[in-house]
């Protein structure tokens, strides 16, 4: 066998492995029967329609979007401001602060969630979408901080200096110079945060109570075992994420 054939065969096998679960998931979301397992009994959209008319799932979807966009906006604001603060001046504790701000990146979500749960418990704070959002800001702010820090280089600092020299106040510097200059990084940081929050389960599970996000709602669906409806939810989530990614990819290419 030629080298090319070996490579092609290897690629084919790995792609099959990678695609297998997604293909099975999507295929059996159209299953005209009670179980999402072979044989395939015919094509129907009833499970998808059932998902779309499921009140609880739709509320969870709305909650997820709220938490994802809200927490990402806050995470981006915190991360962007902190990145600027560390970039513009030489502070004595800069290294320590940088380490502290990025520390949550290296801790398991489970541990972060449990720590917050124990603390909220001790402080007597009730669980809600707010506490979920707090948890998601904790995991996403370091990410935004790291991305903004990487994007703010000497070019931005020089431009900011020039802007200040020409009479710009702090707000004007940020609005007219820094933010537009690192816009691609800001967009990337925000979208990445949204993705992470949108898909995050364990923190949302630990820190929510009555109002839950979509992954938590899906989790409770799993209790009903193998079910084409779960396939349909999964497929729809996949569709939304893939479309969002496609839109991002296209906008990035246009730039």
């Amino acid at each position: 066998m030629t080298r090319f054939a070996i490579s092609a065969a290897y690629m084919a096998v790995l792609y099959a492995f990678i695609f297998l679960p997604v293909a099975v998931l999507v295929l059996f979301s159209f299953q005209d029967g009670r179980f999402p397992i072979p044989p395939f009994q015919g094509f129907t959209l009833k499970w998808h329609l059932e998902v779309l008319s499921d009140e609880e799932l739709m509320v969870a979807l709305r909650n997820s979007l709220l938490v994802a966009f809200g927490s990402s906006a806050l995470a981006l604001a915190l991360g962007f401001l902190a990145a600027r603060g560390l970039a513009t001046s030489e502070l004595p504790l800069a290294r320590t602060i940088r380490a502290a701000l990025t520390a949550p990146l290296s801790v398991s979500y489970l541990v972060i969630g449990l720590g917050l749960l124990a603390s909220l418990n001790l402080a007597g704070v009730g669980l809600s979408l707010w506490t979920v959002a707090i948890g998601h800001v904790v995991i996403n702010a370091p990410l935004c901080f790291a991305i903004c820090t990487a994007a703010i280089g000497p070019a931005q600092q020089q431009a900011e200096r020039a802007a200040r020299d020409l009479g710009a106040g702090e707000w004007a510097v940020m609005r007219f110079v820094t933010a537009p200059m690192i816009m691609p990084a800001l967009v990337a940081a925000f979208l990445l945060s949204v993705t992470f929050s949108w898909d995050e389960f364990i923190i949302a599970f630990l820190l929510s109570r009555f109002d839950v996000t979509l992954p938590v709602e899906i989790w409770s669906l799993l209790r009903s075992g193998l079910n084409p409806k779960t396939n349909a939810v999964g497929s729809l989530v996949f569709l939304i994420s893939a479309l969002a990614f496609l839109a991002f990819e296209l906008s990035a290419r246009r730039r």
Binding site: M11, P38, S89, I97, L101, L110, L114, V138, A141
Partner: protein
Amino acid sequence: MSLRIEDRERRRAWALLAPAVLWTAVFFLLPFAIMAAMSLWQKTDDGIERTWSLVNYMTLFGNPTYIEALFNSLEITLIVTLLSILLAYPLAWIIAEEVPERYRRLALVLAVVPFWTSYIVRSYAWSLVLAKQGVLNTALEGIGLPTLDISNSRAAIVLGFTHFFTMLLTLTIYASLTQLPPNLRRAAADLGAGPWATFRHVILPLTAPGIAVGAFLSFALCIGDYVTPQILGGGNDLALPQLIMLQLGRRADLPMVAALSIVLMAVVTLAYLVVARFMKVAR
């Protein structure tokens, strides 16, 4: 005389930092400290007793269930990490080296498509594939092979994890492969190295840090994950996160949960130190 302009600049820097620093302190460092403290307290029938002792840790390390869970987690994580590297490296290599340049990005995006399914749904999808009468067994039967009964087992967990981390590692290894200087291979060949020698002595050492970072990422994400073992493992040999959630859900034993979390973190930190040391040696 004070340095007034620079003072102002420093004050402004602190003002910009303050929200993030406060947030991290209140919602990350403080909870961590509380958890550390709590791990030294005890659960009683009517709440938490705040006396300091190592009882939780002693129970933890004296109880075979806990030790087993820790070793289950470590075992799964190590197998998964190793398997994923072995599967991902050739794929990343093929994409970086043999796929024509214009299809490279497409090949890469396709290799991570399942990222866009929800992380819970991914595990659920594997349980569909591996179910007793699922796709895999139907296919095996169809070609006359014996069926595999691996749903709800250690093998299913490993498979589910390996699927995810193969994608992740393909990305990180691909990134480190494309960062190699293009003339490196030519130089090695010029000096008489065959393809295998070039790989063994040039490419592999240079991509080792990329592999190490990916491996650490896989390790940390894998050992702290509750969802995959819970969905695919069927509640047999518990992994550490499952045990933690069990303590939380069934017994509401927050001090014990805290102690287990600290142990989990210690393991991840240890892995980080190993990787950091390895990277220093590699450089």
